[in-house]
Point group: C2
Chain length 419, copies 2
């Protein structure tokens, strides 16, 4: 063993990212490569080709997930895996998802270059349709894998043109034969790491190069409908109004204040609002809006739910309106595997810096994978915290450092010596 | 003189209202009779026919306003006039506007029946396109008459199909020849009364049968644009957000509280809001909304303006957003003629009840007429304060009582004895 830690080739990783980004490249420097389109096929073929060139065996399952395996010395060991997705948003960037897959490819390239044989096999996963832009549900491939919903449900999903996932998989040649869910026999991974851009501003604001992701926030999403009485803005005195907009403003404000009551992990967002009749001189008789609550702790998320409902009852009474609250999404908080998180911290330390503990605010394939095996994530900063946008950007040194840590953590988990 | 006050025939007035309401009647019991359509022509022809049957002379001006005159004994006296409009909203009711015109027709019918000769002539006006549903600006006929905008501007206005006011007037045979504006020679009225449903809930809530309208609220309307930064609802901590929706909620709340600071006449309404990108898990980067401020006092309206701008500056700073405020409409408050208002109170008293002083929250043709001559309005209650709706309703006795008061006030102003 050397005291000098092994590192990947960050220039090569960057080159691969730029090559992949040409498939679906947009004029503004982003990528539009929706799931299971012919562009997705080209991207899958490109990455699978790179993996084959490194001697990997390829397995494709019934939801189109791709598992690219580099054999280990002990074929009885479950794979130490990494990966992410290569579909993008319609106006997506070059790094979201793609980085996690190509960091894995770079790990395999570097293992080959250094002639390292791991004890456990190494696998790189490409999960189908993480973004959910063309087909819902989102995180489809990893969701089927973990049993969040059934294979049949996912394959029956249709895009706006009526094309099913099933038909699209066949059309692009990725309608695989092996079981897609662990419950039906898909191989269980020994560990799953996922490197990803943060998609938020925390690392950048803290001037830290890397985050060891300890878990993902739980989520509760709501549709809220306020019904008042529409009336003329002029002739109706303030005291006789049933103003649905004013009631809504109270709950928008409450959404934020409830999240602020549970810092640092509380998040509260009203992202969408529709007003009826939405005419400037008519007091709104109806307002529909959404609330998105997130927190790392499930009991706290429930307390936020209770606080919202209590506030809504008071507002309904104060403003003479009816308020209906429907919860439409619930994800429990995810706690990543302590051992894997520690291995990310250790690999960072070996490289001479401290990883920052961070919690993912968004869902990722790793959140579903964590239901089936030990999992953890590595975050690297992205410029201004911007993602799902063509101007999404990350620095080559940060991308390289994240892959270095991934490399170190995977080797530590898989067990290795120079062959 | 008799101590028993003269009264109109409320059953006949009601009958005329129901007959007129058949032109454009909707399945839900309302009326759809947009300005300068063939239905409007039929309605104009019907009412003009009724006036001619009572011996009136008819004058039509260049914007299609109709003046139906019953001669007085002194041809040098300016007319004592009343009226309103007979165009409706697309889903309008039977009473808005129509009541004021037909109350005037009933006054003439009753004068004829009682053989009363007034000193000044009596006129009933039908103002063109008060509603503004098909053509803008609203209150078009009275606006041209008072010089609020030019005849050419009004005649050039086009509907969604590209048809101009000018062409529509010709098509329905109401493209009159006489000057439309006082400034260009239209006869100045000696006085203008307008009877109207309140279109608000004040009289009903106070259980008062009639309002003597002392003026109309001034109005300031705004378009407000808040620009923050859109970002993922999950990965973006509360402290690093530039949430345009949260900033907007603060100003929606401020709109109400500023109005409440200036009661009883302050009104503040946010009727319309549009959110960008309006996605439930994206922090809004942009919100556009409207503010409608009204008050009876011009200086107070200006104080409300200043309070809104001060609050916006504080919110912009607190929420790291940019806030742009554009005033898009300003109407000064209208103060109706004290003598005419008193004549409405007196006529009410003669009938054995106290009129309630009230201020109009909305614009009416009388507001423009008041720029050219002494003017005042009579309000009667409408069911639940609802108007601009097919379920708009008013009671026959209230409609009759309003016409009784109009009758008394007009006779007092015009001067009369049994002939």
């Amino acid at each position: 063993m050397t005291t000098q830690p092994l590192r990947v080739n960050s220039a090569r990783l960057n080159q691969s990212l730029m090559t992949l980004a040409q498939l679906g490249a947009t004029a503004k420097g982003g990528v539009c490569r929706l799931a299971l389109t012919d562009l997705d096929r080209q991207a899958r073929d490109l990455v699978v080709g790179w993996a084959k060139a490194e001697g990997c065996t390829i397995r494709i399952d019934q939801i189109g997930n791709i598992f690219m395996r580099r054999a280990g010395s002990d074929p009885t060991r479950a794979a130490v895996a990494t990966g992410s997705h290569i579909d993008t948003q319609p106006t997506g960037g070059k790094f979201d998802g793609n980085y996690g897959v190509l960091a894995g490819i770079e790990v395999i390239r570097r293992l080959n270059e250094l002639n390292i044989e791991t004890v456990a096999p190494i696998e790189v996963c490409i999960w189908t349709n993480e973004e959910g832009s063309r087909f819902v549900p989102v995180m489809m491939g990893s969701g089927v894998y973990a049993g969040a919903f059934t294979l049949d449900h996912a394959r029956a999903a249709r895009d706006r043109d009526g094309i099913s996932v099933s038909a699209a998989l066949t059309a692009i040649g990725y309608n695989g034969a092996t079981p897609a869910s662990v419950a039906e026999g898909a191989p269980r991974l020994g560990a799953y790491f996922e490197a990803h851009i943060e998609q938020g501003p925390v690392l950048e604001a803290a001037e830290r190069p890397l985050g060891a992701v300890t878990g993902a926030l739980g989520q509760r999403w709501y549709d809220i409908t306020i019904t008042g009485m529409e009336a003329h803005a002029g002739p109706t005195p303030m005291s006789l109004r049933k103003d649905a907009m004013q009631a809504a403003a109270q709950l928008v404000t409450a959404t934020r204040s409830i999240a602020l009551d549970y810092q640092p992990h509380g998040r509260g967002t009203v992202g969408s609002m529709d007003v009826f009749p939405n005419s400037r001189n008519v007091i709104p008789g109806g307002v529909r809006f959404t609330v998105d609550f997130r927190h790392a702790d499930d009991a706290t998320l429930l307390a936020m739910d209770a606080a919202l409902r209590a506030r809504a009852a008071a507002v309904a009474s104060d403003f003479n309106c009816n308020i209906d609250i429907q919860q439409v999404v619930y994800f429990a908080p995810t706690h990543f595997d302590a051992g894997l998180v520690q291995s990310i911290r250790d690999a960072s330390q070996a490289l001479g810096f401290e990883a920052m503990d961070i919690v993912s605010g968004a869902g990722h394939d790793a959140v579903y994978a964590a239901r089936t095996c030990p999992a953890a994530m590595i975050f690297i900063p992205c410029k201004d915290g911007i993602s799902h946008n063509e101007i999404e950007d990350a620095r080559e040194e940060d991308l390289g450092l994240g892959a270095d840590v991934l490399f170190g953590a995977m080797i530590a988990r898989a067990g290795a010596g120079a062959s």
